[in-house]
């Protein structure tokens, strides 16, 4: 049996292992976070597309023509940041996105969540947000047909649909007046998660894409929840017409997940965690690049810090190549 005992190494501000001496160089590099591989210096001018990092209380601009967005407030006609993060500007709207924060949802987001409580006509779902999200009994597809109406008996057997601990993928449908998210699973692509394993990354790293359901070429399905919860599972052929609606709420994994399937799932999971460790954006392309880069290492080495860093670096290089 082999265990590697390491000495700790200092973690540099750029998210990569570096010696302590480099810490004095306070130039922060968040280029990985934004998927841009250039080295911006701490310029206060965000018009040229470079990164502007602020801390709470720091004045972003005193120009009154801008509008105040999330993570900012106005004090004495100045726009001041209220979180530590990166300044983002859309036309005249300025907001600050915190680097490490809970998920703040937007309608239409695909999220992965875990049922924490079953109450009257609703489930409470942990989605890494400020409050538990709510999944109403009326917002799910009942077994036996998409158009079936809710009956009283359904209310009594809510645990046969979703139980505490179950993982679901759902879409953010609306906000309640208190800010809680209302979810729905009224589509066959949403619902209970099976055949795989769960990992969690910082919500800010998951890139908003057209689709968050991916069947990767190596035969692994990935659901990238915008709340940072990610589900990696064995490939299941999707034919939305032929799905057995009775099976939607089954807890049974499919029988034939081979050891090779499991290894691929573990490899993909580790690649995603490697990208997260190096603060890189996560989308299907990057995951594929990371997976290819990981193939030169044996599976069990992928939990090692330096291997993770190497994989993420290689994936970053591939992204750069793609951009030309």
């Amino acid at each position: 049996m082999q265990v590697s005992f390491l000495s700790p190494t200092a973690r540099g501000a750029d998210g990569r292992a570096s010696s302590r001496k480099d810490d004095q160089d306070m130039d922060l590099d968040f280029s990985d976070l934004l998927g841009q591989h250039q080295t911006p210096k701490g310029s206060k001018d965000f018009k040229d597309g470079s990164i502007h990092v602020v801390t709470p209380g720091e004045t972003i601009t005193s120009d009154t023509q801008f509008m105040r967005g999330h993570g900012t407030y106005v004090e004495q006609e100045k726009l001041v940041s209220s979180v530590a993060g990166v300044v983002e500007r859309v036309n005249k709207l300025i907001s600050v996105k915190a680097l490490n924060t809970r998920y703040s949802g937007e309608i239409g987001d695909v999220v992965v969540g875990r049922i924490t409580e079953v109450t009257q006509k609703r489930w409470k779902v942990d989605v890494n947000g400020r409050q538990d999200a709510i999944l109403m009994l009326s917002s799910i597809n009942l077994p036996g047909g998409v158009q079936r109406r809710k009956q009283e008996s359904d209310e009594l057997q809510m645990r046969t649909f979703f139980m505490e601990g179950d993982l679901v993928v759902a879409e953010l449908q609306a906000f309640f007046h208190d800010g809680a998210y209302s979810l729905h699973t009224r589509s066959l692509k949403y619902g209970k998660l099976r055949n795989g394993s769960f990992i969690s990354v910082a919500p800010a790293l998951v890139q908003r894409c057209k689709s968050h359901f991916h069947s990767l070429s190596m035969g692994v399905d990935v659901i990238l929840g915008l709340n940072g919860y990610i589900w990696v599972s064995a490939y299941v052929p999707q034919n939305l017409d032929e799905i057995d609606t009775e099976q939607v709420y089954s807890n049974k994994n499919k029988e034939d997940i081979s050891a090779e399937d499991r290894e691929r799932i573990a490899r993909v999971s580790n690649c995603i965690l490697a990208l997260a460790q190096e603060l890189m954006f996560i989308n299907d392309t990057v995951i594929t690049f990371a997976y290819e880069a990981s193939l030169q290492y044996p599976l069990k080495d992928l939990i090692k810090q330096e291997v993770k860093a190497a994989i993420a670096n290689e994936a970053a290089a591939s992204v750069d190549n793609l951009r030309g």
């Binding site: 049996m1 082999q2 265990v3 590697s4 005992f5 390491l6 000495s7 700790p8 190494t9 200092a10 973690r11 292992a17 302590r20 810490d23 875990r114 049922i115 924490t116 942990d126 890494n128 139980m163 505490e164 601990g165 179950d166 993982l167 209970k192 998660l193 099976r194 055949n195 795989g196 394993s197 769960f198 969690s200 807890n251 049974k252 994994n253 997940i257 081979s258 050891a259 499991r262 290894e263 799932i265 573990a266 490899r267 999971s269 580790n270 599976l299 069990k300 992928l302 939990i303 090692k304 810090q305």
Partner: protein, 336 residues
């Protein structure tokens, strides 16, 4: 993230994965995660170590030597010439949601009791004359005088006595669990071994004034400190988690939720079992129990060897830094 919830599908996936020898993070059943260890990072202590298991678990173990009265068994008179070891484990509320308020009390108590049982119970003292590395097979019982009872897991407690019947060194081993990522017990004992190896206590000189009056003098020469006698005989732990019909080492938090029965095996470097404890609400067949003890023993011995190599390497680096007149480089909490 609610910490104690798992879906039936995940449970099944982990169970079958253990059966197929592919765990969710790609490890095999007998694979440990990377462990990083650093000793001597807290100056207020006599010895300290920080242990991190890649993937979460993070803890700080400190050893503090203080002078206190000996603890004498009123009936047998045992313990008059012995030092003491007192263990305590505390899980900080910031480490896990389940540990806020009084939530950690049971965990703290369980871990403290396990530590105390392994480190300061039974007659686990190894007679240093009869056992050396060349003859590990020699049954290294202490000489069978009843009064030799009470040796703690290899540490020679009689060397910690300052004035017999009055004063001794008390080693307070305090562990602080800073982050939870599974497999706390193994990390705890690794950290304790590292911290004890790092521990140095001042020499004491006994002075007799006649008339049965004794006093002692502490030598405050920092260059001339002593290490803990018998520290190499301290055991470490291997925790095996029974999932289905198989068992795994170094479980992640999700795997710990699936675990039916957990067996913690304390082993010293001679391959002797120094403690055994089952936990969780499951059971196992006697044949599996014996098999688990056997493999725990083998793994534990290998683990100690590698851990010692790491501790020695670090001690050597520190020493060479000191020889050059520089302070040893410690990352402490700047480490990743």
């Amino acid at each position: 993230m609610p910490t104690n919830l798992i879906s039936p599908a995940e449970r099944d996936y982990i169970l079958k994965g253990v059966e197929a020898n592919v765990r969710a993070d790609g490890r095999q059943r007998g694979d440990y995660r990377e462990v990083s260890i650093e000793t001597g990072i807290i100056s207020q202590t006599s010895g300290s170590a920080r242990v991190k298991i890649a993937g979460g678990t993070d803890m700080l173990v400190s050893v503090r030597a203080e002078i206190g009265p000996v603890l004498v068994d009123s009936e047998t008179g045992d313990g008059a010439d012995k030092g003491q070891i007192i263990c305590s484990v505390e899980c900080v509320p910031s480490a896990s949601q389940g540990w806020e308020g009084r939530g950690a009390d049971d965990v703290n108590n369980e871990l403290s009791q396990i530590m105390a049982r392994i480190l300061s119970s039974g007659n686990a003292m190894v007679d240093s004359t009869s056992t050396d590395a060349s003859s590990p097979s020699a049954t290294s019982k202490p000489s069978s005088t009843p009064s030799s009872k009470g040796g703690a897991a290899g540490i020679d407690l009689s060397k910690l006595c300052i004035i017999p019947g009055r004063l001794c060194w008390i080693l307070y081993i305090d562990a602080l669990i800073l982050d939870y990522g599974g497999n706390i017990i193994d990390a705890l004992l690794m950290g304790t071994r590292a911290a004890i190896f790092d521990t140095q206590i001042p020499k004491t000189q006994l002075q007799e004034f006649g008339d049965g009056q004794f006093d002692f003098e502490l030598q405050d020469d920092t260059e001339d400190m002593v290490t803990i006698e018998g520290r190499e005989n301290m055991p470490i732990c291997v925790t095996l988690n029974k999932i289905g019909a198989r068992y795994i080492v170094d479980a992640s938090p999700l795997e710990e939720l699936v675990t039916e029965a957990r067996l913690t095996i304390a082993v010293n470097k001679y391959g002797q079992v120094c403690g055994l404890q089952k936990s969780q609400e499951g059971c196992m067949e006697p044949s599996l129990l014996l098999e688990m003890i056997q493999s725990g023993k083998t793994m534990g011995q290998a683990l100690i060897k590698q851990l010692d190599a790491k501790i020695e390497a670090e001690a050597a680096t520190d020493l060479s830094m000191r020889m050059q007149g520089k302070p040893p480089q410690k990352y402490g909490f700047f480490a990743q």
